[in-house]
């Protein structure tokens, strides 16, 4: 899956890919104060290519949990399951339904997206990307967007969560790269000096089929140097 980190203060964005084997679960957000966690499980393509350079991976399953509320949401490409303690509610991506309870709302928009809000301070959007059923290579997959993280604490971590806090980066020495349309540059971030490539990724929140191009600086090697530690530090055993 690819990650886009938008930095409004700089009117710019950084992106990176995480390449791991299908089935791997990655910790995207963990906030010890609010008790919110978001994990994502990776899927591959229908025709699984083992070569990590060429294979594409996506999120096929997401787990959103609030320890304080004893509440969990499992989002797959087919269903959305809500647990309140031991009580289970199951919805399908064919439903249009708003689920509300104290401090929480979940809006499922048929075949499009799901918006989860915890109070006024946290809003996530999960987008369902549907592909043609007979498409030989690709599966349906999920996109995950953080729309509002104001309510998350300063201790929030995870592949996405670590970027909720302000951070700085500098880009210099823009020069032609191996692809003439994508210049390389030097980025200094978190005390690391990295070679990055100018590219673009898609934001599908508003237009699920075409998306909107977001220009970004691409960090190679699974975000190494940009993310705290290495990407394997974010592998967790289970969705919850």
């Amino acid at each position: 899956p690819h990650f886009i980190i938008q930095i409004p203060e700089k009117d710019d964005a950084i992106c990176f890919n995480i390449d791991e084997d299908p089935g791997t679960v990655l910790r995207l957000i963990q906030d010890p104060v609010t008790g919110l966690t978001v994990n994502g499980q990776i899927i591959g393509e229908k025709t699984g290519r083992s070569d990590s350079q060429t294979r594409r991976t996506y999120f096929g399953k997401l787990g959103i949990a609030s320890a304080q509320m004893d509440f969990r949401i499992e989002v797959t490409r087919e269903n959305i399951t809500l647990w309140n303690g031991d009580s289970l509610s199951t919805f399908s991506w064919l439903d249009t339904v708003m689920v509300t309870q104290d401090g929480l709302s979940v809006m499922i928009n048929r075949k499009k997206n799901m918006v989860v809000s915890f109070g006024d301070g946290v809003t996530f959007v999960v987008v369902l990307h549907q592909v043609w059923k007979k498409e030989p290579a690709h599966h349906d997959f999920l996109g995950f967007y953080v729309v509002n993280s104001r309510g998350m604490s300063a201790q929030t971590h995870g592949l996405l969560g670590q970027f909720f806090h302000p951070f700085d980066f500098q880009v210099s020495d823009v020069h032609p790269g191996s692809d003439p349309t994508k210049p390389d540059a030097t980025m200094v971030v978190k005390n690391h000096q990295l070679t990055v490539t100018r590219g673009s990724q898609k934001d599908y929140r508003k237009d699920i089929s075409v998306g909107r191009n977001v220009a970004c600086w691409f960090v190679h090697n699974n975000g190494q140097g940009l993310i705290d530690g290495i990407h394997r530090d974010y592998i967790v055993p289970n969705l919850f």
Binding site: T90, F91, T96, V97, V99
Partner: protein, 617 residues
């Protein structure tokens, strides 16, 4: 079935039951053809048992190629003809109660020597979903072997059919089983039962038929989405049955009649059922028992959680129940209602839970407040619309109308428990229907000013395995899209389901509607509206009752439904005399006298005419 007045000379050469179901709305046509080979006129009776929930829509007689169609008239108008005959000491009736689920339609006619007669009865009903399935019930009982005997059922469900089954109580061997075929694919389902003459014989050399019993078709539809809206010709129907929701915990009070009349088998069956129900009560639920005879006793002073210990204690309590004394319905119900109200006020039951009161009685109140109207008023005031009351009437010797009215005005329903060997199963079955509420306070909403003539759109509960059906008319047939929202309170959350219908997509999806019959949504809407108006009318008074009656009557006449407000009149030549017959649709009234089927001769009427009338009461 066709009952032959005289077997000799009469040949029943064809009996066909043709059912077409479109979106749960069933249109059934029963056709029987016979010929009188004898040298003299013979009387032939045509019997059909149809569901009590069905409305007859037509009956025709065809004699020697001449068809005499039925006409639906206002009941009072039709009755005048009938009463004239009755005043001459003659009685007649075409429909009478027949068992738990059915009523029997019977017509007798004289068939001249060498003549052919065709009977055709049409009735319609909306199949209701219980425990996850729609059920169509047909009674099969031909009185002789029939050369062409056939039941065909075609089902068209735009949501797609998920399961389809057909079972007949009389299919006991492979030979007869081969006469039954059932299949479904996508939106269409088909069931056919076509036994040959040999397959119908009760034994290889017998001339009597083994086709005798129940023929039941069950099916369900795909539920990829919790709701489905269909729109045809400006009428819409909205089916709502979400799945995968947790069960809302419930506080249930059982109010049990233990008066002397419950002695013996009734008491044993009640105890058996309660013990079984206790096994099914969920741990999140709260419960209590209130027993009444001349006085009222309770198991516990207040509702208790259904912990294993309490269930064990409750079972012991149930086993020790003894019958005694008279019947004090008023105080028992008020005690139960007060208990539920108090638990809610004092927050001793979960905030997100629902209350239900279930009364079982076999007789009329005869101690304390015994006036039915006053009991109804007391109960209505005490409940205040907050939760439903379900009344189960055990046996025949009770004022069922009273129980039904009381239940209906408190958002519940009444059910008869028949004094058969399986009365305990009937009780358990009822409990299972209401044991799993998934939503409470369900409101179905549509854009303001977009719809007209909406059927009931608010329900206190949605139970697992059931379905909410709302129908109406679009104010503007040319609108491009249509949006419906269903709001309800779940076990943990509040939910709002939204269904948006694109009219063009709808048109495409229902292109195959001609497969069955085109105006089914309009008829479904009319059926549902009449049914609900009749229910409301049961508890209405004065001008409101008059208005409800007028509306239901207008629709019954417009859509040719034989309801309690209308009668169907059929004329035919008969013995150079006018004949009159009437049938009252037998409701669940108080100690109703069964109508007597037959024909009545009315010498004052025009010659060569026989008038049959079918109505529902």
């Amino acid at each position: 079935s066709l009952l032959l007045g005289a077997v000799d000379g009469i040949e029943v050469y064809s009996t066909k039951v043709n059912c077409k179901v479109t979106s749960r709305f069933a249109h059934n046509v029963v056709t029987t053809r016979a010929v009188n080979h004898a040298n003299t006129a013979k009387e032939v009776s045509f019997d059909v048992e149809l569901p009590k929930t069905a409305f007859i829509t037509n009956f025709t007689l065809t004699i020697d190629g001449v068809t005499y169609p039925g006409k639906v008239k206002e009941k009072e108008v039709a009755k005048k003809q009938y009463e004239k005959a009755v005043s001459q000491g003659k009685t007649a009736g075409l429909v009478k109660a027949s068992g738990r689920k059915l009523e029997k339609f019977t017509v007798s006619v004289n068939v001249a020597a060498g003549s052919k007669v065709t009977f055709e009865l049409t009735y319609e009903e909306l199949l209701k979903r219980h425990k996850g399935k729609y059920e169509m019930y047909l009674k099969v009982q031909p009185k002789q072997l029939v050369k062409h005997f056939e039941i065909t059922v075609d089902i068209f469900e735009p949501q797609g059919i998920s399961t389809l089954d057909a079972e007949a109580s009389f299919i006991t061997n492979d030979l007869l089983g081969s006469a039954l075929t059932k299949s479904f694919s996508g939106k269409k389902g088909h069931v056919s039962f076509k036994p040959s003459l040999n397959q119908q014989r009760s034994c290889p050399t017998c001339t009597d038929s083994l086709l005798k019993g129940d023929f039941i078709i069950t099916y369900d539809v795909n539920r990829e989405s919790p709701a489905n809206v269909q729109i045809v010709n400006g009428y819409f129907v909205h089916f709502f049955a979400p799945q995968g929701l947790p069960v809302v915990p419930k506080s249930v009070v059982f109010v049990i009649d233990v008066s002397g009349s419950m002695h013996g088998r009734k008491m044993e069956q009640t105890k058996d059922a309660l013990l079984k129900i206790l096994e099914d009560v969920k741990q999140d639920d709260y419960l209590n028992f209130i027993l009444f005879s001349g006085d009222v006793t309770t198991w516990k002073d207040s509702l208790v959680p259904a912990t294993p210990e309490n269930i064990q204690e409750a079972s012991k309590f149930v086993m020790d129940i003894q019958d005694r004394g008279m019947t004090n319905i008023n105080d028992a119900l008020l005690r139960g209602i007060s208990m539920l109200n108090k638990a809610r006020e004092e927050h001793t039951v979960p905030e997100r839970s629902t209350s239900i009161i279930i009364m079982l009685t076999d007789g009329d109140a005869n101690v304390g407040e015994s006036r039915p109207e006053k009991i109804q008023e007391n109960v209505r005031n005490a409940i205040g619309g907050k939760f439903p009351l379900y009344n189960l009437g055990f046996g025949n010797n009770l004022n069922y109308n009273f129980l039904e009215n009381m239940a209906l005005e408190n958002h519940g329903l009444a059910r008869r428990i028949y004094e058969d060997s399986d009365a305990n199963l009937q009780l358990q079955g009822f409990y299972e229907e209401v044991a799993n509420p998934l939503l409470t306070g369900v409101e179905v909403e549509y854009p303001q000013n977009a719809i007209l003539d909406l059927t009931q759109n608010s329900y206190q509960h949605f139970y697992d395995g059931s379905e909410i059906v709302v129908a109406g008319r679009l104010a503007d047939e040319d609108m491009n899209s249509f949006k419906a929202a269903v709001k309800g309170h779940g076990a943990i959350n509040d939910l709002t389901f939204t269904e948006e219908v694109d009219m063009k997509e709808m048109e495409k999806a229902l292109q195959e509607r001609d497969y069955i019959f085109g105006d089914y949504i309009e008829r479904l809407w009319a059926y549902l509206t009449i049914e609900q108006l009749l229910d409301k009318r049961k508890n209405a008074q004065g001008e409101e009752k008059e208005n409800l009656t007028a509306q239901a009557l207008e629709l019954s006449l417009k859509y040719h439904f034989v309801t309690p407000l209308t009668s169907m009149v059929v004329t035919k030549p008969e013995d150079n005399e006018n004949q009159t017959a009437i049938a009252n649709k037998p409701g669940e009234g108080t100690r109703r006298q069964g109508e007597v089927p037959g024909t009545v001769k009315d010498p004052e009427s025009q010659p060569l005419l026989c008038v049959f009338s079918v109505d529902g009461d």
